[in-house]
């Protein structure tokens, strides 16, 4: 399974430079919604992996190679976490380089972004496996990215209604972060199991 994870990192090839360049632009224009950037970029990197295998019918190839379907699905659930960590790391690094010492990094925002992309992925991964090898999946990619964008605004609305604060971006406080984090982890594991069940029954064309 380690190889399946490695392969999902390798196939981006020079794509990684593009992702880092996009991050750099975000930092450079000094947008203040860190959680939005983290969530969006992690989702984009991950959706590309799905797209790649859908486009070239990688399902047939990887399932004919000595792997089980469980491994194939699990590798994707692991890769999302890895992608999020890479994006967060790169974001922090870029922020330090571009904005120098004057940066005020709030770890809550980064964790918040990660939680957001995990919740969205928990909803969408099983659907992606269910619709794999059909054209409808491409629409689903759009919805997936869309859900991340909308999620950011929903979260800030949620935050505003709870705190009455008028600031655009939610300033995360401990309990809320913890609760959301636990919810995300639970959803993610349930989603993981559902995806394995769905994919095990899938007929590979």
């Amino acid at each position: 399974m380690v190889h399946l994870i490695k392969k999902d990192l390798i196939i981006h090839k020079f794509g990684w430079f593009i992702y880092f360049a996009m991050l750099a632009i975000f930092v450079f224009v000094d947008r203040n919604d860190t959680e939005f950037i983290i969530a969006l970029m992690s989702a984009i990197v991950t959706v590309y992996v799905f797209y790649f295998d859908e486009h070239a019918n990688g399902h047939k190839l990887w399932n004919a190679l000595p792997f089980t379907r469980k491994e194939f699905v699990s590798a994707r659930y692991v890769i999302l976490i890895i992608n999020t960590v890479i994006i967060s790391g790169a974001f922090i690094a870029l922020k330090l380089i571009i904005q120098g010492g004057s940066v005020q990094l709030t770890w809550q925002e980064i964790v918040g972004g990660s939680i957001l992309v995990i919740i969205c992925s928990a909803w969408f991964f099983p659907v992606l496996y269910w619709l794999s090898q059909s054209n409808r999946i491409f629409l689903c990619f759009v919805f997936y990215i869309g859900s991340v964008v909308i999620g950011v605004y929903l979260l800030s609305d949620l935050f505003r209604s709870k705190t009455g604060s008028l600031v655009g971006s939610p300033i995360w406080h401990g309990t809320m972060l913890l609760n959301l984090g636990l919810l995300a982890i639970c959803l993610y594991f349930v989603s993981w199991i559902i995806s394995i069940i769905i994919y095990n029954k899938k007929e590979i064309l």
Partner: protein, 285 residues
């Protein structure tokens, strides 16, 4: 273990398509040709053997093992070639190899380069720019480079021109020098099989019509042509199918010797080739 692949009473239906009580065996050390028209069920069965599709009922065993318990062990020992290249087109052959090689415990890089040399395959070129023939050879090179004991091939030569096809079959002859290798090859191009296949399995509309040794087919199957007066309920029993016209009848028999002595000199009796056997096996009397 005499049989590398064994299907027992396999049923599968999806939509209009149905596989009915399919049982078949593939002998170790030989080439088994799997023939049948488009949509007869060849690809579905090939996919079942690779566990890409599971049967509704019945058993699929490969190397005597079950997919439920030994999926990885089985697939380690299989080399597959599909009629459409399964590789990522944007990558070069070298890059694709780097993705595939670590999947197999017994991958042999020297062997892979040997095949690339032999097949004239450019490692540094994108797979997108490969011709159909080259893609097929690339698939074959991948399939042969991890000491696979079983080669599963689904219509490998369909998109190839006749010269490439011959060359491809020539390589398979070479593979079979090793008695530890088994080939199961679905095709509807009969000329590929006439020189290569030891056994032939014929499927039609989701049912296995026959599974026989190639020499058995050659010796026992014949096309008989003669006048209609030769046909009566007695003689008709020797034929699998009969076509009548004003000029006489044309029929397929699987009983060459009996028919030859029965119609001695009165009818024309010729050996039937695979295509004729396929064509006449479908029709009734």
């Amino acid at each position: 273990m005499e049989h590398v692949i064994e299907l027992q009473h396999v049923h599968k239906s999806f939509g209009e398509f149905k596989l009915t009580d399919v049982s078949l065996q593939v002998k170790k050390g030989f080439v088994t040709g799997f023939i049948g028209g488009n949509g007869a069920g060849k690809s579905t069965i090939m996919k079942m053997i690779l566990n890409l599709i599971q049967p509704d009922s019945g058993k699929v065993r490969v190397f005597g093992l079950d997919y439920q318990t030994s999926e990885k062990t089985i697939k380690e020992k299989i080399g597959f070639v599909f009629n459409d290249s399964p590789f990522y087109e944007e990558l070069t052959l070298q890059e694709m190899k780097n993705l595939i090689a670590p999947c197999y415990r017994r991958w042999n890089d020297a062997l892979f380069h040997h095949y690339c040399d032999q097949f004239d395959l450019p490692l540094k070129q994108r797979l997108k720019s490969f011709s159909d023939g080259m893609k097929m050879k690339a698939s074959l090179a991948m399939a042969l480079s991890h000491h696979a004991e079983l080669l599963i091939m689904d219509e490998p030569t369909t998109n190839l021109d006749p010269v490439f096809r011959r060359e491809f079959v020539e390589h398979l002859h070479e593979v079979m020098l090793d008695e530890g290798k088994t080939i199961f090859m679905a095709t509807h191009i009969m000329s590929d099989l006439s020189s290569l296949a030891d056994y032939i399995t014929y499927i039609h509309r989701g049912e296995i019509i026959f599974s026989k040794g190639a020499h058995e087919l050659e010796e026992n199957f014949a096309i008989v042509r003669g006048g209609l007066e030769l046909l009566d309920s007695d003689t008709e029993q020797y034929f699998l199918s009969i076509k009548r016209s004003d000029n006489g009848f044309e029929a397929l028999t699987s009983n060459y010797k009996t028919v030859a002595s029965l119609f001695d000199g009165e009818a024309i009796i010729e050996k039937a080739n695979l295509e004729e056997i396929m064509y006449y096996s479908r029709g009734g009397k």
